[in-house]
């Protein structure tokens, strides 16, 4: 299979064959042409003569022709395929920022253009489809808002033991919908390329921790903010960064047992870490959660995977990363140094 697909191997084989056939034909010609003349000479002299004739008229011409041709052909092939290899590396590197990516056609050989253009068209159609899908998800989330609001208000009136349990379910549903709306928003923003502002990470962290604290304290846990002397800044969208941090804190609250503490640490560098008292999240599991919205044992039943996937998207939009340090029980938002 691989033999059949490799162009340079097929060329090498073809050139080898041409070399062999050429050598054979030349040999035949030499033998045919000289056979009469050598008939009178004694055997040893004839052999030496024949060998020299063959070297001169067969090996030399074949070598002179075949070696440069082989070298040249292989070089042309390699050069022709290099833009494709580069495009492949670019495609590989673009992981996580696929939206809007196109293969650069300017360096492509003419022969490859129909293929790369078709791939670009496909990418455009996929972008379009993803956009439609997200707009649809946002619409659905939006439309669900009113019936869900009515449902939770009706439950509020219900004085029944089950009401509390149902309220919790509705609240989980609501969080999920909020997350979907946020996801749609991030992508809309990424497309709109809204200009970024200079943002103090300490300010954002202070606001988010302050807003999250009442519910955390009511749940019997504590949260604190640790800031260093330096006030790291980054370029970005404040609301999006707040949403990312909020999601990390929600995740930390979920995995921290009652009575536990959550720490939000600003720095070192342009980063915010959230430390919980959960079991710690190994990197490969974080990757699973983020990439496939798959839930690890770490998480519970209310869309933790989606929450972290959103954080990852927000970080990607800021050219930053979401990292995990399982030993320190931390999830880290790392922004590019300004």
């Amino acid at each position: 299979m691989t033999d059949r697909r490799s162009v340079s191997r097929r060329l090498k084989r073809g050139l080898g064959l041409i070399g062999l056939v050429g050598t054979f034909l030349l040999l035949a010609a030499v033998v045919f042409f000289y056979s009469f003349t050598f008939a009178h000479l004694d055997a040893q002299a004839a052999m030496a003569r024949a060998s020299r004739e063959m070297l001169e008229h067969v090996a030399l011409p074949v070598a002179i022709l075949m070696i440069p041709v082989t070298v040249l052909v292989l070089r042309v092939i390699r050069q022709a395929f290099r833009p494709l290899e580069e495009a492949a590396a670019e495609i590989e590197a673009v992981q996580g920022h696929e939206r809007g990516f196109r293969i650069d056609n300017s360096q492509m050989p003419t022969e490859a253009l129909p293929f790369t253009s078709a791939v670009n068209d496909l990418l455009a159609r996929l972008d379009e489809a993803a956009k439609r899908q997200e707009a649809f998800a946002a619409d659905v989330a939006h439309e669900l808002g009113t019936p869900l609001a009515l449902l939770s208000l009706e439950l509020d009136r219900l004085e029944h033991d089950d009401a509390e349990r149902l309220k919790k379910d509705v609240a989980a549903m609501r969080r999920l919908i909020d997350q979907l709306m946020l996801l749609a928003q991030i992508d809309a923003d990424a497309v709109a390329q809204i200009p970024l502002a200079q943002i103090s990470l300490s300010d954002v962290a202070s606001d988010v921790v302050g807003a999250a604290a009442p519910a955390i304290i009511a749940g019997g846990k504590t949260i604190e903010l640790v800031t260093g002397i330096h006030a790291p800044v980054t370029r970005g969208r404040r609301e999006a960064i707040s949403a990312a941090l909020r999601n990390l804190i929600e995740n930390a609250v979920r995995v921290t047992p009652a009575g536990g503490a959550i720490q939000v640490l600003v720095g070192p560098g342009a980063s915010i870490s959230v430390r919980d008292e959960g079991p710690g999240l190994p990197p490969d599991r974080l990757r699973n959660l983020v990439q496939r919205h798959r839930r690890a044992d770490h998480a519970s039943k209310d869309g933790a995977g989606l929450g972290l996937a959103i954080v990852e998207r927000i970080m990607a939009a800021h050219e930053g990363t979401l990292e995990t340090d399982p030993d320190r029980h931390e999830l880290i938002l790392r922004f590019p140094e300004p």
Binding site: A141, A149, L153, Q185, P214, E224, L225, T227, E239, A240
Partner: protein, 225 residues
């Protein structure tokens, strides 16, 4: 306390009003901005609960234009759009607070109470948080029937925390409220005042009400209800 709920979905409006009534608010309902204006002509409200999209106009625009010419009670905006930008526009338009729908009535009630505790909202001789009472005019506090003896600065701090009960008051806000520019604030000054207030609250059997959110600020929380 009398509230006006402006919401075009009749069922939603009725449910919100009903929920708030069960939490001891008096509620009127308006299904459109015109109806809201009529209602406001006939009665004085302590706060408004405003939906963004209404049949005869946008809640944000209405609030902005009305704020220009009328004395308006504080407004909480309900927005069904979870969009990040809309929240900010709502606050710019003069809404004092916002909630993203679907709202929890408990949350809404808590936010309204917090709004009503803000300075400048009608005459509030006494701020009440659970068992705690603060007399704004006399600057005295009591827990139930028990007087709490406070210094001027402690009283200022307790008032500030009570006005924002249920939310975290940031250190910078406390610094600005308690100390003038010329007054140097030593890093421990606020902590010392807080711990004195906390001790006095505990002496008055109000325990676990004053929470520290380290690195951010402090919160007074009504543990009772």
């Amino acid at each position: 306390m009398r509230l006006l709920v402006i919401e075009d979905n009749a069922r939603m409006a009725a449910l919100v009003a009903d929920g708030l009534q069960r939490r001891n608010f008096v509620c009127d309902v308006a299904h459109s901005l015109t109806a809201a204006e009529d209602a406001m002509g006939g009665a004085t409200y302590d706060a408004i609960v405003l939906d963004l999209g209404l049949p005869d106009g946008d809640g944000t625009d209405w609030l902005t234009s009305r704020r220009k010419y009328h004395e308006m009670p504080p407004a909480i905006m309900l927005t069904a759009r979870g969009a990040l930008e809309d929240r900010i526009t709502g606050l710019d338009a003069g809404a004092d607070d916002y909630l993203v729908k679907p709202v929890e009535i408990d949350e809404l009630a808590a936010r309204i109470r917090a709004l009503l505790r803000r300075p400048g909202v009608r005459i509030q001789p006494v701020i009440e948080v659970g068992r705690l009472y603060f007399d704004v005019a006399n600057r005295t506090a009591r827990a139930g029937d028990q007087e709490i003896d406070l210094s001027r600065r402690e009283a200022d701090l307790l008032e500030l925390l009570m006005r924002h009960a249920g939310t975290v008051v940031h250190r910078a806000v406390i610094e600005n409220a308690l100390y003038s520019f010329s007054d140097p604030v030593t890093p421990n000054a606020i902590e010392a005042t807080i711990s004195r207030v906390r001790r006095k609250l505990e002496d008055a059997h109000v325990t676990g009400a004053l929470h520290t959110v380290r690195g951010v600020g402090y919160m007074l929380k009504d543990n009772g209800a």
